[in-house]
Symmetry: C2
Subunit: 413 residues, 2 copies
């Protein structure tokens, strides 16, 4: 997870506060938490859950970012403020009003996000007190980024942040930093995905939105913990231009290195979420090659990463490749069993089960030991070649353990 | 599960052998089993998995039933004969040849089905020996139906059979009986759905196929254990006409009572599968009312019955209705949160969480005790009213327990 993509992208410390002009703060109290991210007069882009039922802050932030600029993000954990009707809308507005007053920021420059239990009243007395305290702690520091990342955690076991320094095509340098929480895209009720990213590059909302959409498609949208999608998923990307370095050229094209840096950052945050998947004991990456279309490649990789039977086999360290065949067949992709190749890998070791339709693992004994050894690793890669075209995709996930059941059976409030 | 639908449908004993002219046999040896179902010169209909990768017996039986008539079904458990290439096709043909020889039945009147591990060679010596022994045990008896039902079990914990006697509109009487196995529609690798149904009514293949399709749509197709669909799912329905009673009138219309009886039988077999879902401790029924279209009603009920987060909450006896909101929102159905009603029920007890968008369970204390009491039951019903139209649907499933993980993590061969 710490490989350096290429010489144009360098991993740096500091999370979202690695970016000049960004201040953060975070406080936790019991199962509740509150984070503030301040970056004055920043262009903003966002992607949100596709669940038909959305939380009050999702509806609110979608509207707010249409203006193109914000200065503050207020995010709470512990309560999703979803399916809470007018009361929830008022509570969300109160979060905005109070922050506006305390930090002297216009209300329409404040976005909100929430994560937690659905269908419960927000504990506004506590939330307000956390906003007051956080507003006095805002600073640009490594600690502040960590505090904010910790404040938005729910069932997460570790806080999640990542930052890169990107050398643009014209050799100028910009930074991108982010924090996120969640134990699935795709796992509501105290496990929503929230992600806040900032850059000091100069880039306006429209280009920022395009750039974010590309990065999210191959990262957070390729992530699965349990196949359920939250009512609260929110990714916000802000650009304050403090570096004075332009990201978009005179033809309106986003700098390639910037896009690569953002993709890399989002993939790394997504991987951190998969690593920390609810009850996860193993990280699963599914690489699909040789698809006719991008959609096919994504369908196959997601079908595998979502399969309960594959996820339990990974947990049991059982190289049961028949289940991979089943999951490939269940995808809507254009496939031909006669062309299919299936392998598993970890580190440098690879075991081929099927190569262009020929079953190498037909006789149990020949592969079982080697494959079982690979399954013992913490990071497992399933590699599929459809041999139908030249498009590829990667999905990220984790295994399905006793603890997943425990966490979700014994947990509401 | 034993209520009598109405006076035209009476539950009877004997499983598939409740039907005159049907002989069955079954033998188990370790993790392998073999069942024969003999009903000479019977019209046949079938529905099969929609997985793109299909087992050798699925491909074979699809072709065989096109002729319209069969006399014998040969089914094995322990090996799926899937992704086994030419060897698998030969092994399937050998099952047919041997049965043909032993029972003096033309090869093209024999259908096959397999369930078990994918991508392994069939143990043909054992299978052949089981076919030989079974062929000498064929008889029309309660015991024979049970033996066949037991022989096709894999991770099933109980054998599954059901039979009804139907009084047709013209007061004639026919019987329908069936056996099935599986712990999900929708759960491959030793958990495929296989179902064999017979009737002594007079009905030809085309009408039989239409009738079966209707019954399967609202039963097996509304069943979910883990959302994965097998490569081997097979439902075969045979009609031998022994009763001499016509099911189809002169206008080509299938007798309504017959259709109702078949629907009832398929629903009861589907419920038995849900009850016996891998690791299941609770049976879950999701009734959705007030949808605009049948598709909407099905989408919402399936989205709920498939949700890992709801299934773990049911296991944990946690009335976490926020997760139901999430699952409804995740369906593609036409919904309006303001019109939504959500309740849970068991037996005569009902607790409303949300009524036409008004949250009755907003304040935890008011509903928690009652709802928690309901959750303690073995059979849980989730009742949704979308209040958008007048169409309804019901889905069947079970909870998600530690044992589901255990069964699927520790099990291949």
């Amino acid at each position: 997870m710490t490989e350096i993509k290429d010489s144009n992208i360098q991993i740096i410390q500091g999370g979202i506060c690695a970016v000049e002009g960004v201040k953060a703060a975070g406080i936790r109290k019991g199962k509740y938490g509150l984070a503030l991210i301040l970056s004055e007069n920043s262009y903003v882009a966002g992607t949100f859950t596709s669940n038909q039922i959305t939380a009050a802050p999702v509806d609110y932030s979608k509207k707010i970012i249409k203006d193109g600029k914000i200065s503050l993000i207020v995010a709470n954990s512990g309560n999703a403020n979803c399916f809470t009707g007018k009361v929830g809308i008022n509570d969300n507005n109160e979060m905005v009003s109070l922050s506006s007053e305390l930090l002297n920021i216009p209300k329409d420059k404040i976005a909100t996000a929430s994560t937690g239990v659905i269908g419960r009243k927000m504990p506004m007395e506590l939330i307000s007190s956390l906003i007051r305290k956080s507003s006095q702690k805002l600073e640009n520091s490594k600690e502040a980024s960590k505090d904010a990342a910790k404040a938005i955690m729910t069932t997460d076991t570790v806080f999640k942040e990542f930052a890169v320094q990107v050398t643009l095509k014209n050799n100028n340098v910009v930074k991108i930093g982010g924090i996120c929480k969640g134990i699935g895209m795709i796992a509501p009720n105290m496990a929503t995905l929230l992600c806040f990213i900032a850059t000091d590059g100069k880039i306006k909302s429209e280009a920022l939105q395009d750039s974010l959409k590309i990065a999210v498609e191959d990262s957070f949208n390729m992530l699965s913990v349990d196949g359920d999608e939250s009512t609260n998923d929110t990714v916000l990307f802000i650009a304050n231009g403090k570096s004075e370095n332009e990201i978009v050229d005179s033809n309106g094209k986003v700098d390639e290195n910037f896009q690569e840096g953002l993709n890399y950052l989002c993939k790394n945050l997504a991987k951190k979420i998969a690593y920390d998947g609810e009850g996860a004991t193993k990280f699963l990456e599914v690489d699909v090659f040789g698809a006719k279309t991008k959609e096919d490649a994504k369908n196959v990789s997601k079908s595998i990463v979502n399969s309960s039977l594959i996820k339990t086999a990974i947990f049991g360290e059982d190289p049961n490749w028949g289940r991979i065949v089943m999951a490939i067949g269940n995808s809507k992709a254009d496939i031909d069993p006669k062309n299919l190749s299936i392998a598993i890998s970890s580190g440098d070791e690879v075991v081929d089960f099927v190569k262009k339709g020929n079953i190498l693992a037909y006789d149990e004994t020949s592969y079982l030991k080697e494959a079982e050894d690979i399954m013992k690793n913490r990071e497992i890669k399933i590699i599929i070649d459809l041999n139908q075209g030249s498009v590829s995709a990667t999905a990220y996930g984790c295994d399905f353990s006793y603890d997943y059941v425990k966490i979700n059976a014994e947990y509401t409030t």
